[in-house]
Amino acid sequence: MIRLQAIERRFAVGDEAVYALNGVSLNVEKGEYLSIMGPSGSGKSTLLHIIGLLDRPTAGQYWLAGKDVTGLADEERAQIRREKIGFVFQLFHLVPRLTAAGNVELPLTLAGLPREEREERVREILAAYGLSARARHVPSQLSGGERQRVAIARATVTRPEILLADEPTGNLDRGSGREVTGIDRVFGHP
């Protein structure tokens, strides 16, 4: 499903070159659940951005569902993002002026679904994440965990083939070294 070959992401900071990723190769099959762990600044977010077609590698190749997407044009990348990928951002990036329901509805609106169907699916998914009572709240009225669940709901409401969830290293549970908050718990992977 996802195949990365010698991916490199280099940032130019002044005259210096910073390598966020260098020679990353990766294979993820359909239905597979993969956690990537690493210390802060190790390039996890950068990698997810590249997999999510939000960023382009400076070298290497990327196949998605058997298709080489490395050099795809912006509009085609946008279409794949819209149709195939759900992304939970590290900082959630909820729209502050939209309610929880409004945020979750956004990808459905962009997909061009009719209004009744959108509202139905938003209602369902908010209920599934225990957010029904918070549907009319704007992000500033939500707790951190509620915000995260809204972000996850927004990423999954379109039922994407690929779900990418980005969490900072700081959320590691000290005792086990495993992530115990957020995504894992929501998806039942302890």
């Binding site: 951005h49 999510g52 939000l54 960023d55 912006d74 509009e75 946008a78 279409q79 794949i80 993002r81 819209r82 149709e83 990928i85 992304f87 951002f89 900082l91 990036h93 729209v95 002026r97 939209l98 956004l106 990808p107 609106t109 962009l110 997909a111 061009g112 009719p114 209004r115």
Partner: protein
Amino acid sequence: MRGADVLRYSVHALKGYPVRSVLMLVAMAIGVAAVVLLTALGEGARRYVTGQFASLGSHLLVILPGRSETTGGHPPILGETPRDLTLDDAFALLRSMHIRRVAPVVLGSAPASWRRREREASVIGSTADFQRIRYLKLAQGHFLPEIDPRKAAAVCVLGATVRAELFGPEAALGQWVRLGDRRFRVIGVLAPQGVSIGLDLDEVVIVPVASAQALFDSPSLFRILAEARSREDLSGAVAASREIIRDRHEGEEDVTVITQDAVIGTLDRIFRALTLTVAGIAGVSLVVAGILIMNVMLVAISESREEIGLLKALGAASGKIQLLFLAEAGLLSLTGALLGAGLGLIGVWIGRQLYPALPLAPPAWAMAGALAVGVGAGILFGVLPARRAARLDPIQALSGR
């Protein structure tokens, strides 16, 4: 994304930043209101002035001594002064079958007095037909008698203001009024007429033409008024008057013949040009409003970079982002323009209440033009910010870079 969703999203975004949105609305509204008000003023002035002339009656010809240079022809030969118009010239016009009646007019000014009251008055010398040609209404008595125009008669008709100032509450009919060094018996009083072609008919005293000639000791006429038999006779009447006077003036065409149509046509053109000019000036404010919308939209885009980045990350195509911002600009300018049109019309209505005499009315082209230019400017100046928004890189926009 569906059209209705684009609109709903834009409306929501605009409501999210009320100060910014209201600012742009006001700018656009002021621009459109300015166009509506100024053109209404220009149009009102045009209607007022042409209405003044239209009240003269549409078959009227005015014959003035002297050749108006604007009508073309040879420039006057040096030292040559135009021949005066005389009573004989005036009545010669009646030879034309196109002309129904004529009224010679002598104009001068003389002190008018009754008992101890005295005031300066314009004195018109004319004939009984003057009343018919100018549609004068009498408040009391009757107009000048049908007498031989070459004979003087010591009678006069007073304008409404002159009567009021000389007589106050006392009866004027039958009284003897002094004009200069002569005495005239009041036989009629005009109903208030208002100003017409520069002459306030409330401020005049009308006497038989021969009496006025004697009073001012001059045989020459100020002008001749003639009435064509019908509208269709008008051009024939103009040609005939020129010809008749030319014959009488030894082949010299030394008079100017004006018709109401020609005067109205000229005034009409002048005031239309004036209205267009003020519309243009006010139109500049619409463009200014458009530029303001552009500025505010640019600020809006830098304020909502994160949201734009998110939309792009969620897979919104660049075209859609552009459409969202154009819809915002379009909605704002359309609402602002409609608001401005409403404000302008309210202003026009207030103006009408304050000055009922001035027929204020914004021309339809100005209303339509202001709306179109306003919305056009809003959208046009919305293009640059919209494209800039569409070009944002999602990761950079999301991370605030």
